[in-house]
């Protein structure tokens, strides 16, 4: 997995609340058996009209946001379907961090498996960063994972909380499965004990 340390980039504002994973990547793109190549269909139904032409008003179609690496989004981003195609599509487009007041549980976890940092901040902070993002490509934000801060283009600094294990894995680009396999002995012993206690499982 790609490491995440520090990122300074363009942030795109998406103030809509409850952006669901069906919006992020509609179902017709779940027919792939690969993880790659989904960026072109990110937000497909909001981004393209029925003929496949770009809708100019959609934020990521605007010239100043085409290279966005950060999203500042409304409450409850990533709700709905568990499809990991959502973070795959975001990552493939180039989004490395998303800032919101809240994320849906499964989406939040999926981000960390793909080198994306979802950041939870209080509403007041998200409001400030949303306004900052609205300034366009001249206003670049900085996300610093090690220090757990987001710095607006004006230099205003917001600190965020993060689970220490998730931070460790993301900063070092660690593979979860490899880490867990190091604990195989614990799993073996649990399995032996559980098959005694609950042999019907």
């Amino acid at each position: 997995m790609e490491k995440f340390e520090k990122l300074t980039g363009i942030a795109a504002p998406m103030p809509l609340v409850n952006i669901d994973t069906d919006m992020i990547i509609p179902k017709q793109f779940l027919k792939t058996i690969k993880r790659s190549g989904l960026g072109v269909n990110l937000f497909d139904e909001m981004r393209y009209d029925d003929n496949g032409n770009e809708i100019p008003d959609f934020v990521l179609n605007k010239p100043q946001y085409r290279d966005a690496e950060i999203l500042v989004a409304g409450d409850n981003f990533g709700c709905g379907s568990s499809r990991e195609h959502a973070p795959w599509a975001l990552k493939d487009f180039g989004i490395r961090s998303i800032i919101s007041t809240s994320f849906a549980d499964i989406f939040y976890n999926n981000c960390f498996k793909n080198g994306i940092l979802p950041i939870i901040l209080p509403k007041e902070a998200v409001d400030v960063l949303m306004k900052d993002a609205e300034k366009g490509s001249n206003a670049r934000m900085t996300v610093d994972l090690e220090n757990q801060t987001v710095t607006s283009s004006d230099g205003e600094v917001f600190s965020f909380e993060l689970d220490s294990f998730k931070k460790h894995c993301l900063m070092n680009g660690l593979d979860d499965i490899g880490l867990t396999m190091e604990k195989a002995a614990a799993i073996d012993s649990f399995e032996a004990q559980a098959s005694q206690a609950r042999p019907w499982v």
Partner: protein
């Protein structure tokens, strides 16, 4: 011993390893797999030279992307991309030696219907699947939740998940439900009250007399939509109804093991003085038959209400409601019962079980549909067979419904079962998101009985007027 919730008890029984920071390896008893969110996970195993750690606890069935029309056993009758995904699951199940129900098997169906039906899902288990509606299995007092594909690969390889414990939330539905009110109305009403993020960070336990009174099918409907309220999982403590449902199913324990299991299952309830981080109480008698009007499952109102004005909301919801009404083609103040519909979809892991089909058939008996098309997609081949045996299929066909084969179908519309732009659908599924049932499609969620009533009148209808 300190008092525990049901969630605490199941959690504690499954922690295989706990790190100093509280990060746990949670052991997984049942891993359900389908064709859409698993190919990349199996590919990851192959590339790393890994095997499936517990193939006997891993069960696969194609459901999301399969056609629901006859002849689908022949891949030529599938779209090319569906055929590729189904073939990949066929191969992965064979190569890795996991349990498998192919499309040609009468036991095939929606993964969350097949699991309980075959007795894979048992009280006190941990159950995961690469699908958010895995919460369904919580109806058995199993800790069940959806995971992403990376986690699917993690569970395949290690039979564990890296987890931190969620908080405990109690949702109590007191007293009795009124006539015409169903499990679907309970679960939608709870989301209407808490919002789609109200459960984020929590595992919900549903309790109270109205929940106890529900059948297992109804309880599955309630837990199924816990995810729509943002919760990691929904749970209902097992009781005699649960044990009766489980007993005798193909993979349920038998003989001495049944007795041993039962002894443990009977300890699976929340202790009286257990700690709850959040409590919601709703009176059963206050719940009405509801429908959704917008593009989020929290956009719920009684069928007797009117389309709300966006200004009646606060914060970001004002803009979201405006966008919803525009998408749905509705105006504030319009009576919900005046909304005309084109299509009816009965099915899904929320409402594709036998009881759901009975409830719809009860309303449809001897009537004809007044909509352009109506479709019943049973949740499994066995539900379908039972419905045919009970004469329900004839009622549906005579009313003008298409009687389909089992699958997820128009709930997520990955297969050809889709809405056209602007087409308005009364659906028994779980999500009314923009484009969910087809680009530009307009979805109103409701119970099977309400969907049947809508099919007869051609508009959203209070089912109580037909009872």
């Amino acid at each position: 011993m300190s008092p525990k919730t049901l969630y605490d008890k199941i959690w504690d029984a499954h922690v295989a390893h706990e790190a100093d920071d509280g990060t746990c390896l949670l052991y997984i008893d049942r891993h359900l797999v389908h064709e859409v969110t698993s190919p990349q996970a199996f590919e990851g195993l192959r590339m790393a030279g890994r095997s499936v750690r517990a193939p006997d606890k891993t069960i696969a069935v194609p459901d999301h992307n399969v056609p629901t029309t006859p002849g689908r056993e022949d891949p030529k009758n599938m779209t090319e991309d569906s055929a590729i995904q189904v073939a990949a699951l066929d191969k992965n199940a064979k190569d890795f030696g996991i349990h498998y129900y192919p499309v040609s098997d009468v036991r095939q169906g929606i993964v969350h219907i097949v699991g309980p039906e075959q007795g894979w899902t048992l009280p006190g288990m941990t159950v995961v699947c690469g699908d958010s509606h895995t919460a369904t299995h919580g109806a058995f007092g199993a800790l069940a939740h959806g995971i992403g594909t990376s986690e699917v690969e993690h569970v395949l390889a290690t039979q564990t998940l890296i987890q931190k414990k969620s908080k405990n939330m109690k949702v109590e539905i007191t007293g009795k439900l009124r006539p015409g009110v169903t499990a679907k109305d309970i679960t939608l009403s709870v989301i209407g009250k808490t919002g789609t993020a109200g459960g984020t960070g929590y595992v919900i336990e549903y309790c109270g007399e109205a929940i106890r009174d529900l059948s297992m099918e109804g309880r599955m409907t309630v837990c199924n939509m816990a995810i729509e309220g943002g919760a990691r999982a929904g749970l209902i403590a097992p009781d005699e109804k649960t044990f009766d449902y489980v007993k005798g199913r193909p993979h349920a324990p038998k003989g001495a093991q049944w007795e041993a299991a039962l002894n443990w299952w009977k300890t699976l309830y929340s202790d009286d003085d257990a700690h709850w981080d959040k409590v919601i109480t709703i009176k059963g008698e206050d719940i009405a038959p509801v429908v959704t009007w917008g593009t989020s499952p929290e956009d719920v109102l009684p069928i007797t209400a009117e389309v709300p004005a966006p200004e009646s909301f606060e914060g970001g919801k004002v803009g979201a409601a405006q966008r919803s009404l525009e998408y749905m083609g509705l105006k504030p103040g319009q009576k919900l019962s005046d909304i005309e519909i084109d299509t009816v979809f009965i099915g899904s892991c929320t409402n594709g079980r036998i009881e759901d089909l009975r409830a719809a058939a009860e309303i449809l008996k001897g009537k004809k549909i007044a909509v352009k098309r109506a479709m019943v997609v049973p949740g499994s081949g066995l539900v379908r067979a039972q419905a045919e045996e009970e004469g329900l299929a004839d009622i549906f066909r005579e009313a003008g419904f298409e009687w389909r084969l089992a699958g997820c179908s128009m709930c997520l519309a990955m297969n050809p079962d889709q809405l056209a732009p602007g087409e308005r659908c009364a659906a028994t599924s779980n999500r009314n998101f923009e484009g969910r049932q087809g680009r530009g499609g307009r979805t109103h969620l409701m119970s099977p009985a309400m969907a049947a009533a809508a099919a007869i009148t051609g508009k959203l209808t209070d089912v109580r007027e037909m009872m």
